[in-house]
Symmetry: C2
Subunit: 300 residues, 2 copies
């Protein structure tokens, strides 16, 4: 029963096997969002703030913050974005960059225990990112690829994850602070992508006992009705042991799938969250508890 | 890779690990349907026929036919219902009764290889139903309860299933013709019901190598937004190895969950079924393939 604790100045979130699935909102990311990129570059964080608030209102437990804008001062922008987001929400953040200096800059202003996103299995990355994670007492997302790229063999990806967990331990980072991303391929291109992920997630949970995350929406790339595929993926991945995902909480259908999966895993005690969310409102505007009690099924 | 073959006079359906999930339409069942019960009792099969056609149109691969009406001549009504349904559809049927004489009457008129629904682990039931299944060369649903009732311990339910599979073998019925129903409890009352089912389904698949089915909608009994729970259940159960379910195909949301789960399991080659079903129609009324190719994502 591994718990990964992350926090803001005032709030703790635990990612864990026996806990509700953790949604890490993915929207604060200028990649592919021209307007947001321009705004962030020019010091306008209005959209960053509104995206933060909208995702938390929609049920995100954490937020990912990325400032990857070509030719911009990423360390400065990432730090500023983190300060702005922490000023308006209390959810813990995932600090997302491929630039080590930006991760450090983000960590230096962060209030609480952050999730660093991410380190891969490449030796150079391990030796530059892990010391930072250790210095700031953060948790870290471990992406299961290395110098050889991303293997289609889930057992190779498992081996890369194992290497990262072991290296983290060498730096004094416990396995409970490593959240492995098994890498999700587009299933329209690789039909076995779903089975691959389920296999590796089960091994990660049973053998390494680590928590897991993923960029969930990648699975549906190129297919119609992407939310439908994303729902199937998340539900099945949660069944296999996945404990968090970096995704958009703004799709009601996807949030419903996650809440339903929590019920199925026995992680929504007495189905309280499900009932609160989906209780039918009564005609008189009351909360429906009384109305439902008297209703009978009329199947014909 | 166990396949359970069932058939009508002209069509075969295979329930199997590496095949799309099989939906057995549940609607032709007078239990709790007063109007249908009255009609069937009076020899009016119009609704039986329209329910059959509607379920097949909605994507049912098989249909369950039940004629359990108190104080009626169930063997005669069940046989007549089967003849009427087989006259208008070519999907294989599940012959559903708790009365052995009704099962025999249904089997005697059935064209093809039926699925007999069901036998339990009680000795008296085993010795009355299994000889019938063997005589008609049918397949059979094995429900994992016995004289002691339904255990909350999934390993006890597994043991009952094992006993039925072994007893079937004594009667010359191969394990590939036994489809086990692990029994799904309402998760609103028993929070661990989901995990119980996933555990037993995995054991049934890995150790007994049998196909599985269930009355899927029972899981959501008493909860609001039942379809949402049913979707989560079916998706996760398919991930654990469930290969068929007796449920209503008339809910688009549930059918989408099943199709999405087929994609996830790698059982929808090239996602052809998914793409055919969910391809966005183009503005010009064409099938949308061309339109989609030119569309670009505008996330802001």
């Amino acid at each position: 029963m591994t718990d990964t604790l992350v926090s803001s100045a005032s709030k703790e979130v635990r990612i864990g096997f026996a806990r509700p699935f953790v949604i890490i909102g993915e929207r604060i990311n200028p990649t592919g969002r021209k307007i947001l990129a321009e705004e962030m570059k020019n010091g306008n964080y209005d959209r960053v703030i509104s995206d933060a608030l909208a995702q938390v209102a929609a049920g995100a437990h954490m937020l990912d913050v990325n400032a990857g804008i070509p030719l911009a001062d990423e360390p400065a922008i990432l730090a500023e974005a983190i300060k702005r987001v922490q000023a308006v929400t209390d959810v813990p953040l995932s600090i997302d960059s491929s630039i080590v200096a930006a991760l450090e800059s983000g960590l230096s202003v962060y209030q609480g225990k952050a999730l660093v996103n991410s380190v891969t299995g490449e030796d150079e990355r391990l030796e530059s990112v892990l010391p930072l994670v250790a210095k700031y007492g953060a948790a870290v997302v471990a992406i299961s690829n290395d110098e050889t790229g991303i293997s289609e063999d889930p057992d190779v990806r498992f081996a890369v994850a194992k290497k990262i967990v072991e290296r983290a331990a060498d730096h004094g980072i416990p396995y409970s602070d490593v959240v492995v991303d098994p890498l999700v391929m587009p299933i329209g291109a690789i039909n076995s992508a779903g089975k691959q992920v389920m296999h590796i997630v089960r091994r990660l949970r049973e053998e390494l006992k680590v928590n897991t995350t993923c960029g969930a929406s990648n699975v549906s790339f190129g297919l119609p009705n992407r939310n439908g595929i994303n729902c199937a993926f998340l539900t099945m991945a949660i069944g296999a042991g996945m404990t968090s995902a970096i995704t958009s909480p703004l799709h009601a259908e996807v949030m419903q799938a996650v809440c339903g999966a929590d019920v199925m895993m026995g992680n929504d005690p007495d189905c309280r969250n499900w009932i609160r969310k989906y209780r039918e409102p009564a005609a008189d505007g009351s909360d429906g508890r009384r109305a439902r009690r008297g209703r009978r099924r009329r199947p014909d």
